[in-house]
């Protein structure tokens, strides 16, 4: 909609999909210029929950910043712990024992399932269905109990240390995980029958909100948003880190580029994460969970380092600039939803408002991670 066309039609008005709105799942504000129910121009306004993580990164020691990584994307916080721990370990050259690497992968994948379950409940709630939220939260509570027994926190984890993990996992965690996987595998067909095959959901998502590959490249979208547009890019396979090469799992990729594809990518990813957890539990080696000579005060060599991990929403990257002291000189957090959301204003041009909200639901946003 070129500019002068908008002025000619006097029927456009500005609507605030404001900071306090049930569909934005946080404090994201979108300034919508609307013509009736069609969106002429959408402009997301950020910063309503900017919590200065990067400024805090510069006046805390390396270890003190770990709790912050748990509060960035609190739905899949363990992958952020993992990214930060790995970045520092690479810079310092710390060897992580085998068992700790396995525990890291198992807990990160369980956290990914919990994050996808919450997304599933909240997304169908956006489209109007309330009951799936109750089922999804019920499953998610099982995972939170398991993770809490090991890490001590339900949401904002601070479980990884440079060189390993804080404490070891015990037997009832392992049996608990196996039972949970059996239980969730028995419930997934019910979710698919009741929700995925529901004609209303299909009508709301099929061919709605197309995001082309070129748009993904220009905006740098990663994660399920990108895999819904037919690109097989997953940091676990693209830049194999930790012990992921030992697991055999595949990356669900859908080529329809619409909201239904992004929805199906996340539903299938839950199954893949369960496969990883199962293989991880079977091959769990014995041994220490903390590196023998992990330095108490971390002083990485001067220079800058980049490290990326596959978080639940995309590739989370950390750029550390260290000047050899025990506090980082600069700590840049590359947030996946920041780039995913940046394509929203171009993607929802000329769409109906309810379809734009369905599109925003499939982008799976966590606003404090965008505002950092």
């Amino acid at each position: 909609m070129s500019a002068e066309v908008i002025d000619k039609s006097l029927e456009t008005f500005v609507l605030n999909l404001g900071p306090q709105h049930p569909a934005t799942h946080g404090v994201l504000r979108v300034k919508l210029t609307m013509d009736g129910e069609y969106i002429v121009h959408a402009e997301p306004v950020l910063g309503y929950i900017h919590r200065m993580h990067e400024k805090m990164g510069e006046n805390r020691t390396w270890a003190q910043f770990m709790p912050n990584t748990g509060r960035l994307d609190y739905l899949a916080a363990l992958s952020y712990n993992h990214g930060y721990a790995m970045a520092a370990e690479r810079a310092e050259g710390i060897e992580v024992p085998e068992r700790a690497e396995y525990i890291r992968c198992i807990t990160v994948e369980m956290n990914r399932i919990a994050s996808h379950l919450l997304w599933f409940g909240a997304f169908v709630l956006d489209l109007g269905g309330f009951t799936p939220l109750l089922y999804a939260f019920d499953d998610r509570e099982q995972i939170l109990d398991l993770l809490e027994s090991v890490t001590g926190a339900r949401l904002t984890f601070c479980y990884f240390r440079f060189g390993g993990v804080y404490n070891d996992i015990d037997d009832n965690f392992i049996t608990g995980c196996r039972e949970f996987i059996k239980r969730l595998r028995s419930r997934m067909p019910m979710y698919h029958d009741l929700v995925t095959k529901n004609i209303i959901l299909i009508k709301r998502l099929k061919d709605i909100g197309p995001i082309s590959q070129d748009m993904c490249r220009r905006y740098g979208a990663t994660g399920p948003v990108l895999r819904g547009s037919g690109v097989n890019f997953d940091v676990r396979k693209h830049e194999p880190y930790s012990v992921y090469p030992e697991f055999d799992f595949d990356i669900p990729v859908y080529t329809e580029c619409d909201s239904m594809a992004r929805y199906m990518v996340r539903m299938d990813e839950m199954e893949q994460s369960m496969r990883i957890v199962e293989q991880g539990l079977n091959k769990l080696p014995e041994g220490p969970v903390m590196a023998a000579k992990a330095p108490k005060i971390l002083k990485p060599a001067k220079g800058d380092y980049y490290c990326a991990v596959e978080a639940a929403r995309g590739s989370f990257g950390i750029r550390l600039v260290s000047d050899g002291t025990n506090t980082p000189y600069r700590l840049k957090l590359r947030s996946p939803t920041f780039s995913n959301l940046s394509l929203f204003s171009e993607a929802c041009q000329g769409m109906l408002l309810p379809d734009a909200l369905a599109l925003m639901g499939t982008l799976d946003l966590v606003i404090p991670e965008i505002d950092r």
């Binding site: 050259g93 220009r218 097989n232 693209h238 800058d304 380092y305 980049y306 840049k332 780039s339 940046s342």
Partner: protein, 182 residues
């Protein structure tokens, strides 16, 4: 590994690499001691050598494959080369080197098919930092540049709308500068 892709990119970007003067500390071995006196100590001397700033660091430690330093004007040409090779922009980072009175802007690019992370750096003067925008090539850079402007005050010339993104609309302070007082 992305050897082929890397060599291609390296060759393409080598034209833009800036040659800088770097101080290299060299130690000259002590002269052979004459009979009488005690042996001389190796002496350290600082030397300035011309070096094109194009490195291929070891990925396992640093996390990227190619690191090129370009002048601010060449950022646009580098971005055009990279989007031609189907790279996507991962992040734009600002770093405030207050001792050298410069602000460094770091661009991270990566590929979908092959693992090949390219880092483009530029340095601008700290008093009046200006870098041409690449938001017309990479639309995602629009927000990254607005955020870097928020935190460091780097003016991206040609950017459609440099209003604060994460800070309040009327914010005129740049918090991530080293000399920022609340």
């Amino acid at each position: 590994m992305a050897e082929m892709g890397l060599a291609e990119i390296k060759q393409a970007l080598s034209g833009l690499a800036v040659t800088d003067e770097i101080e290299v500390v060299k130690t000259i071995p002590a002269p052979p001691p004459a009979e009488g006196e005690e042996p001389g100590k190796p002496v350290e001397v600082k030397e300035k050598i011309q070096q094109t700033m194009l490195f291929t660091p070891d990925y396992a430690k640093k996390g990227y494959h190619l690191d090129v330093k370009v002048t601010p004007e060449d950022v646009v040409t580098a971005a055009r080369i990279l989007i031609g090779q189907e790279f996507f922009l991962e992040a734009i980072t600002g770093v405030d080197w207050i001792k050298e009175g410069q602000i460094e802007v770091v661009y991270d690019f990566n590929l979908w098919q092959k693992l090949c992370r390219v880092v483009i750096r530029t340095r601008t003067d700290r008093a009046k930092p200006e870098v041409p925008t690449i938001s017309d090539i990479y639309s995602g850079a629009n927000w990254h540049e607005r955020e870097t402007h928020d935190f460091f005050g780097v003016v991206f010339t040609g950017h459609p709308d440099l209003s604060p993104l994460l800070l309040p609309e009327d914010a005129d302070f740049h918090p991530l500068l080293k000399d920022f007082k609340a």
